[in-house]
């Protein structure tokens, strides 16, 4: 049996359905991310697990115990908030000790645990400071230590890195994963940042409009998206419009494009859309057997390690990413170029 079970969860606010038919089983020690745009219901689901929102329907089971109607202070879960939520009237050590004191842990054990947590977050000398004396990243580390100090059954993180700048975000992201793996704690992580979800998670739940679009491992979500929304939301995806040319190819801009997928259920001449990831498209003719397509350069964006080329063919815009190198000579806007991609890279969208 799974460690955390969400069965047919539903939440409505008045006439608005925030979460609908949410089913999920999380194994002990697993790191699962809820990924989706704002308003998709991911935070509401997390808050239902934490006990801050009461499900309209459905059940929440943790370690075999039905906690659906258990108040949040009795669930023994740790939560980290986007806004840190450190108690401003307490020192770092008192913040970390707060949950232990609620559990009536003996004083000497509390002190020992606080020191362990400070070591874990690599801030051993910060115990006597107040939250206003810490940077955003340090505050979030303390918030993490505070949530972990009580050895929660499940760690819940609600967009914990959103308020931090990019460099600190990267550092703390690695820190969260390191700590989670070291402690083997079951973790639910809410984010709208696909990069965070892909890099941190064992599994990702892609959500949209209160519903689960897809549940899978990061590699699966990225490479084999189950729905158009999942494909478009996770990573960059370009769509090319054309017509069915046969069982194994489509025609785009008068040029045949071979697919790995069979089109036996489509009629020749039917309109069709195919999707491509930017990193699967190469400038030039490519390898033998690759599809080639003539397109016009619309814009070029330099992203450091990557050069992103915006192209158009037959009224469809698409993007090709090339790795930057000193020998790389990017095309110019208005140039007509040939791009190539493998039949496996192109997936039928509709």
């Amino acid at each position: 049996m799974a460690f955390l079970e969400l069965n047919a969860l539903r939440k409505t606010f008045g006439n608005t359905v925030a979460v609908e038919h949410f089913d999920l089983s999380v194994q002990r020690g697993e790191f699962v991310s809820f990924l989706g745009p704002s308003g998709c219901g991911k935070t509401t689901t997390l808050r239902m697990i934490a006990g801050f929102e009461e499900p309209t329907e459905g059940r929440i089971v943790i370690d075999g115990e039905d906690v659906t109607n258990t108040p949040p202070n009795k669930r023994k879960l740790g939560m980290v908030f986007q806004s840190y939520a450190l108690f401003p009237n307490m020192t770092v050590a008192d913040n970390i000790a707060f949950g232990l004191r609620m559990l009536k842990t003996p004083h000497d054990q509390t002190q020992k645990r606080v020191q362990e947590m400070l070591m874990l977050i690599q801030m051993p000398d910060y115990g006597k400071r107040y939250s206003y004396q810490l940077s955003g990243g340090q505050q979030q580390r303390v918030a993490l230590a505070r949530a972990l100090a009580i050895q929660p059954r499940v760690l819940l993180l609600d967009e914990p890195l959103s308020a931090l700048d990019a460099k600190i975000r990267d550092e703390l992201r690695n820190e969260i994963r390191r700590i989670q793996q070291a402690l083997g704690i079951t973790t639910i992580y809410v984010t709208h940042d696909q990069e965070e979800a892909l890099s941190l998670s064992d599994r990702i739940v892609v959500m949209n409009k209160g519903k689960v679009e897809q549940i899978g491992e990061p590699f699966e979500i990225y490479n084999r998206p189950a729905t158009e929304f999942a494909a478009k939301f996770v990573g960059t995806l370009s769509t090319l419009r054309g017509t069915v040319g046969g069982e194994d190819h489509v025609v785009v801009n008068g040029q045949p494009i071979r697919l790995a997928q069979s089109l036996h259920d489509r009629r020749v001449g039917d309109a069709i859309s195919i999707s491509l990831r930017p990193e699967t498209i190469a400038l030039g003719n490519g390898e033998v057997g690759a599809n080639t397509l003539k397109a016009t350069v619309q814009a070029i964006t330099f992203l450091g390690a990557i050069v992103r080329v915006q192209l158009s063919a037959n009224g469809s815009s698409f993007v090709a990413d090339s790795l930057n190198s000193p020998s790389f000579a990017p095309p110019r806007v208005g140039d007509e170029v040939t791009v190539s991609f493998s039949p496996e890279a192109a997936r039928v969208v509709s």
């Binding site: 006990g51 401003p88 707060f98």
Partner: protein, 298 residues
């Protein structure tokens, strides 16, 4: 390039503004300070052709410690016998402290709950809390007296009941100030996230209020306490009806004003000094310890 005249005129402009600002400041300060100075001067002339503190010593007559406290053994009893100034001040201070405790215990959880769980009731709360401003004091007094001094409450039949009624009346009187101070304090902290953080760590509601919310409202609660103290110390209408024996400081002040000449001026200065001391104390307490700060981002 600026010509010399232009540059000198640009230099003159701010100085004129500064002079105007200083003039306004001096006029306002004089409006407040001159009456106090004249009162002070008047209070020093209790003896003909002499300047001295006679009025003050009359008011503040230091009690003889041996006579002030009487201890009886059977039945065990400690009785205080102080000059009227001290006994009335002590009584009003006690009423003020009780009002502060009662008011804080009612208003802080109420304002917190309205902000946290029932924000749609905020307009109603705003309306109710300004009612003591809108209703004249004498109407409020008679209303409360008629309601609570008769059956079934009969509060004025006993000493304790009368104290309960006075503290209740003061609590209503100071509610607008307390609610506003606490509400402003609550707006400055992210109570929702702090509450949820505390709850997720195992805290029950009393712990959330007493150990998380209240300490972060220290300055707001102290401000409300100061206002409560100032109002309760000088309040006259209620105490005059409930304790007509000049037991409270307000009725003592009124009696002195009726019967003495120089002592009321001395009492005015003493009252001001007490309020200023209270303000300084509040500021000191508000500054002490750690700073209160909104946690993280909002």
């Amino acid at each position: 390039m600026a010509t010399p005249s232009a540059s000198s005129s640009s230099r003159r402009k701010p100085s004129l503004t500064r002079i105007f600002a200083w003039a306004i400041f001096i006029v306002c300060a004089a409006y407040l300070i001159v009456p106090l100075l004249t009162q002070f001067d008047y209070s020093l002339r209790a003896k003909r052709d002499q300047v001295g503190f006679t009025a003050y010593t009359n008011v503040l007559a230091i009690p003889d410690p041996a006579k002030a406290v009487t201890v009886e053994t059977s039945p065990p009893k400690v009785a205080l016998s102080l000059p009227k100034f001290y006994s009335s001040l002590l009584f009003s201070c006690l009423m003020a402290v009780l009002t502060i405790v009662v008011n804080t215990a009612i208003i802080v959880p109420t304002a917190y709950w309205v902000q946290y769980r029932l924000p749609r009731f905020k307009p109603a709360m705003e309306f109710f809390t300004v009612l003591p401003f809108a209703i004249p004091g004498i109407v409020l007094t008679f209303g409360l007296l008629r309601t609570y001094s008769g059956p079934p409450f009969n509060l004025t039949n006993t000493e304790l009941g009368t104290v309960v009624m006075l503290v209740g009346a003061y609590s209503i009187l100071v509610m607008p100030y307390t609610y506003r101070a606490v509400d402003t304090g609550l707006r400055a902290i992210d109570i929702r996230t702090l509450t949820e953080a505390a709850r997720s760590l195992g805290a029950g509601w009393p712990v959330v209020i007493l150990r998380v919310i209240l300490p972060n409202l220290r300055v707001a609660v102290l401000s409300a306490a100061l206002l409560t103290f100032a109002i309760a110390i000088g309040e006259f209408t209620f105490v005059n009806f409930l304790f007509p024996d000049e037991r409270a400081f307000g009725s003592y002040l009124a009696a002195i004003g009726r019967n003495k000449i120089f002592e009321p001026a001395a009492l005015t200065i003493i009252s001001f000094l007490m309020v200023w001391a209270a303000v300084l104390l509040i500021q000191r307490l508000g500054r002490g310890g750690n700073q209160t700060q909104v946690t993280g981002i909002r």
